[in-house]
């Protein structure tokens, strides 16, 4: 196929606005008569609320309203309705909203917060999901059995388990009997935070006419609309959600976070806009956190290096409310094997309530967690069996005709993980890649270097009927305005979607504008901007809308020329006669309706529409997990070379290579940026990020002084992104998702490189300089490190 726009490095239409600071985010918006809200957050991780006295706060000058949970009795939740906008009888994590003040300024609201008196009856706290699952652990949700929930969610009332997802294939016990080698290990991926550049913000206003508008930094405006309309008992058509640019989401702004609270606050001061923009510290304990998984892998292998069975136990920290995490449980389980065919499987994934802030989506959605475990496990198996780790992976690799953990059969167009592995190995070191223990570069005895790889796969975790839409309006100059329901949060989605539209419409990319905001009142419905599925799903909707536009143009031009539409072609902004291209009409003449010489109209204005749902997806079987819930897979491999200072333990990532089969690349520049950005984020969780709690459950590093993310100096000295482009038959121009995937293999690639450098296995992240020193002194133990 000969593309004009696809595959080019089209510039970002939002680039100049963003680098000059002109771009508008929620926190920049000001409404007439706007009031300001601040939230009183629980200082207890688990307690009964005995008394919340707001009388003194209410009396403060400038305070318009003080609200508590008593005012709002309806619970909300997308999959399990297990939470309230403000705590009612109990608090379940430190940071949970207990009351909110609405005042003329943030300063006054803050003053008023200090006047609210709260009495708690503290309850025992549980922070570790491995403890929360034990009988007798402090129970967070006594009424779990009575919560409304969607199909496929399997809670265990009377326990802290809000979801248990199972995969069962083949015969496990017999498999372990005939195994030649069994490897049994535990791994930990701690809780982290997304640290989005833009704090979560929402402005809500209930109009005198009774309809509600929410301006929000959400990745999921239609989910916000749905949740808020149900919470307040309003028809969906009377709830309007507007999302301008979003300054980074990474999943932490998906589903709903602060919007239900902002909407409820607006009802306390009808007619006035209420602005709630979180402080940086509140983002840590007042929204959702990410990851938090313990994994146990028991693997049965034959002498020939074939994995014949695997038993996997995944224990996910869901935090105080499980609604955001239920689908991470299933998503993690579905990809827990990594990109390998394993005929006999028993996977149990549990989501556990604990007294941490709730766990939500976080770039990779369960996949970096399970790959940390499975790709360390693959490396350890290969080493123990004396098989080259690359060869071991390739012997078991998933490919055409083979079946994944869900029983889905892979096809040619699903991508080439084997090729990705080979490309990374070649780039990292050539064929003699894993030649034993690491060594120091010449003349530096106190330094060790090592290399490691990790293969990965990720499917979008989404509803079987995740919806997308696109509306294309053709303008009088022949250009097009494209409306979608997807959110631009820095990932460049409007650039890529604009390229898809331009290619499909046969227009130069400058003639296509993607509307740079979402407004649920005018934008087409979109499930949410998550799961790396926007290019794929919205791109498909755009293809349909563009086809609709071209059909309408051809019918119009056919009428003008007196020929049948089938005789016409579109190209370079014109409709022309296939047999005689000089006979043509530019889109500009047809866009708003062409007229004949006598003034009579030939056609109506051209508006194209396209809507998309994935086809053929089904719920997994509740007992076996087998089914067809995943629409496509992006495969890849990542490799790292590390250098370790044996004296200080400091780890330097010298090189990070990613090979990814994301199908056809729409915009190589943006695609590389996405992969590298994801890799940098994962490098942070590999080497230094972890949320730390006191025993009482208070987060101790809820600021950027105490929670460090990678800076430019921490980036590897060399980075490489290799695209393997096996076209995806269900994707627009063959594209698949790639926004999250760069996170997935980085932790195990670095972990494997460190094992090769130091002769020490690390099982828990982050791996810090202190961990290296403890390992070298033989003081590791537990999940921290073991030397071999």
């Amino acid at each position: 196929m000969n593309f004009k726009v696809i595959g080019t490095e089209a510039p970002r239409p939002d680039g100049r606005e963003k680098v000059t600071g002109a771009a508008v985010f929620v926190a920049d918006l000001r409404m007439p008569g706007m009031l300001h809200a601040r939230v009183l957050r629980s200082g207890q991780a688990h307690a009964r609320l005995r008394r919340v006295d707001v009388s003194r706060a209410q009396a403060l000058d400038g305070v318009k309203a003080v609200v508590t949970g008593a005012r709002f009795q309806r619970p909300f939740g997308i999959c399990i309705t297990d939470q309230f906008p403000l705590a009612r009888d109990k608090v379940r994590f430190a940071g949970e909203p207990v009351a909110a003040v609405i005042a003329v300024s943030e300063q006054v609201a803050d003053e008023a917060l200090k006047l609210i008196e709260v009495e708690y009856d503290p309850l025992p706290v549980v922070l570790d999901p491995r403890e929360a699952i034990r009988p007798g652990a402090p129970l967070l949700h006594e009424d779990l059995g009575s919560y409304a929930r969607v199909a496929g969610i399997n809670p265990c009332p009377g326990t802290n388990i809000f979801h248990h997802f199972k995969i069962r294939r083949g015969e496990l016990e017999e498999t372990f009997h005939r195994a030649d080698h069994v490897v049994d290990r535990e791994y930990e991926f701690p809780s982290v935070h997304h640290v989005q550049l833009e704090p979560h913000g929402a402005i809500a206003r209930l109009s005198p006419g009774g309809d509600l508008t929410v301006w929000s930094s959400s990745q999921a405006p239609f989910v916000v609309r749905h949740t808020v309309s149900r919470l307040l008992g309003l028809p969906a058509s009377k709830v309007r959600v507007v999302v301008p640019y979003v300054g980074g989401g990474f999943g932490g702004k998906s589903d709903v976070t602060i919007e239900p609270l902002a909407a409820c606050l607006a009802t306390a001061v009808p007619g006035r806009a209420v602005r709630l923009v979180l402080a940086r510290e509140e983002m840590f304990d007042g929204t959702v956190i990410g990851r938090g998984l313990y994994a146990r892998y028991r693997t049965a292998v034959t002498r020939e290096g074939r994995i014949i069975g695997e038993e996997i136990l995944l224990t996910l920290n869901g935090g105080g409310y499980g609604d955001y995490a239920v689908n991470i449980v299933g998503g993690a389980a579905a990809s827990a094997t990594g990109p390998y065919e394993i005929p006999n499987l028993k996977i149990d994934a549990y989501g556990l309530y604990t007294n941490t802030p709730p766990t939500g989506a976080c770039r990779g959605y369960g996949h970096p967690e399970v790959h940390w475990a499975c790709e360390r496990q693959r490396e350890i198996i290969a080493r123990e069996m004396g098989i080259d780790p690359v060869e071991f992976r390739l012997r078991n690799i998933l490919g055409p005709g083979k079946s994944n953990a869900l029983g889905q059969i892979m096809e040619e167009d699903h991508g080439r993980v084997d090729l990705c592995i080979r490309k990374v190995v070649e780039d990292l070191a050539g064929p003699r890649y894993f030649a034993g223990r690491g060594h120091g570069p010449g003349g530096r005895p106190a330094v060790r270097r090592g290399k490691g790889i990790a293969a990965f796969m990720k499917a979008p975790v989404m509803p079987t009927n995740a919806q997308s839409g696109a509306i294309i309006r053709l303008n009088e100059d022949g250009g097009a305005t494209v409306s979608v329901g997807a959110v631009e949060m820095g990932q460049g989605t409007y650039t890529a979607l604009g390229q898809i539209a331009a290619e499909a419409l046969r227009l130069p990319v400058e003639m296509v504008r993607v509307v740079p905001f979402v407004d649920t009142e005018v934008s087409p419905y979109e499930w949410q901007t998550v799961a790396s599925h926007t290019t794929w799903a919205v791109g498909n909707a755009i293809l349909m809308a563009a086809a609709d536009v071209l059909d309408q143009l051809k019918v119009a031009a056919g009428a003008a020329f007196g020929v049948s539409p089938e005789e016409l072609e579109a190209g370079e902004g014109k409709i022309f006669l296939r047999e005689a291209p000089v006979v043509s009409l530019p889109y500009s003449r047809l866009a708003l309706g062409c007229t004949r010489s006598d003034g009579s109209a030939v056609n109506r204005p051209v508006i194209g529409r396209g809507t998309f749902v994935p086809s053929g997806l089904t719920y997994p079987d509740p007992e076996t997990g087998q089914g067809n819930p995943a629409a496509d897979w992006t495969f890849g491999c990542q490799g790292a070379e590390v250098e370790v200072d044996l004296r200080t333990g400091e780890i330097t990532v010298l090189k990070l290579v990613t090979a990814i089969d994301a199908g056809r690349i729409i915009n190589p520049l943006l695609a590389r940026g996405q992969v590298l950005g994801a890799a940098a984020q994962a490098l942070g969780s590999t080497l230094f990020e972890k949320l730390i709690y006191s025993e009482a459950g208070i987060m101790r590093n809820r600021s950027l002084t105490d929670y460090k993310i990678p800076g430019p100096e921490d980036m590897p000295l060399q980075t490489r992104v290799i695209f393997v482009e096996t076209p995806e038959k269900t994707g627009p121009y063959g594209a698949r998702g790639l926004g999250e995937h760069g996170t997935v293999g980085v932790p195990p690639a670095i972990g494997n490189a460190l094992a090769n450098a130091l002769g020490a296995d690390f099982y828990a992240l982050p791996i810090t300089a202190a961990d290296v020193i403890r390992a070298l002194k033989g003081k590791g133990g537990g999940l921290r490190a073991q030397t071999f």
Binding site: R38, E106, Q107, D110, E111, A279, E281, R647, T648, G649, E650, T652, L687, F688, I692, R700, N701, T705, D706, K708, I709, P710, G711, P712, E713, D714, T768, A769, A770, I773, R774
Partner: protein, 288 residues
């Protein structure tokens, strides 16, 4: 969120001192504000008066006078210190420590005097000032006094500065020819971060060691006893090894969210050993 306070920016020293005389106990002095405003925003410091010293001409002086030494006024930013040719040439440990503090943007605001007045145990600029035997110049309406920086810190976030006093600057004696110094720091990340441990080391022309550390005790400390031990020995690679091991005996680090005491103790020894070894090998001029 900020509480309520009065902000004043005196134009003269007298005006500032008179204000402090009236409101000293409820006031906080502010230069760059990079530490103070974070505390004020989190309600960890709630001063009724915020006295900005940047309007006072004397505080802006950064001057090296041959034969006398270096003076760094209270408003002089960390980037000004890091970029000063005189500092880079004669006080490399100070230039390196200044260059390692926070990020470039913050160093454009943060001041050296603010860094020591904040009196964090981990103050990056304290160790180099300790090894260069800097003197802190304090004034009040009652007069002025000068205190060696080694006596300036009295505890975590505590100094000898009285409420009615302000620091107008610090002075550093001119190092004699042949002076070597350097600063080493270990942090969680390679970029903008507080140090887990910081070490300033100096070897004078007369082969006398001066060693100081941050983040290993309630205040930044000078390792006088260790210096005596080293000064009694001939210079050799073995001396560096011994310095590293003995340094661990003289420090009392704590465990916090940034590091365990165990790792601080370990890496303190490593950095001291490295610093001493590099000084012995002749390193210690800027960019060496």
């Amino acid at each position: 969120m900020l509480g309520n306070f009065d902000y004043v920016k005196p134009k003269t020293l007298t005006e500032a001192l008179e204000y402090l005389d009236r409101h000293g106990p409820e006031s906080k002095l502010m230069a760059g504000g990079t530490d103070l405003l974070v505390l004020v925003r989190r309600n960890l410091a709630m001063p009724a008066h915020l006295v900005d010293v940047k309007g006072i001409a004397e505080t802006g002086r950064l001057e090296f006078i041959p034969g006398q030494g270096l003076f760094i006024g209270a408003s002089v930013t960390v980037n000004e210190v890091a970029g000063s040719e005189a500092v880079k040439e004669r006080y490399p440990a100070l230039a390196q420590a200044a260059g390692s503090l926070a990020s470039h943007q913050l160093r454009n605001r943060a001041t050296l005097v603010g860094n020591i007045c904040n009196a964090s145990p981990g103050a990056d600029l304290a160790p180099p000032l300790l090894v260069f035997e800097a003197v802190v110049h304090m004034v009040s309406l009652l007069g002025s006094r000068m205190v060696p920086v080694a006596e300036f810190f009295t505890g975590v976030k505590k100094t000898v500065l009285r409420p009615e006093e302000m620091v107008i600057g610090v002075s550093l004696p001119e190092p004699p020819p042949g002076d070597r110094s350097l600063y080493l720091k270990q942090a969680r990340i390679k970029g903008h971060d507080l140090g887990i441990v910081g070490v300033a080391a100096r070897l004078t022309g007369e082969k006398r060691f001066c060693l100081a550390m941050s983040a290993v005790a309630p205040t930044p400390i000078r390792l006088f006893q260790l210096e005596q031990t080293l000064n009694a020995q001939p210079l050799s690679p073995a001396l560096a090894e011994r310095a590293g091991e003995e340094a661990r005996r003289w420090i009392h680090p704590i465990s916090d969210v940034r590091s365990s005491a165990e790792y601080r103790t370990h890496v303190a020894g490593v950095l001291v050993k490295r610093a001493v070894a590099r000084l012995i090998s002749g390193e210690g001029t800027y960019d060496a």
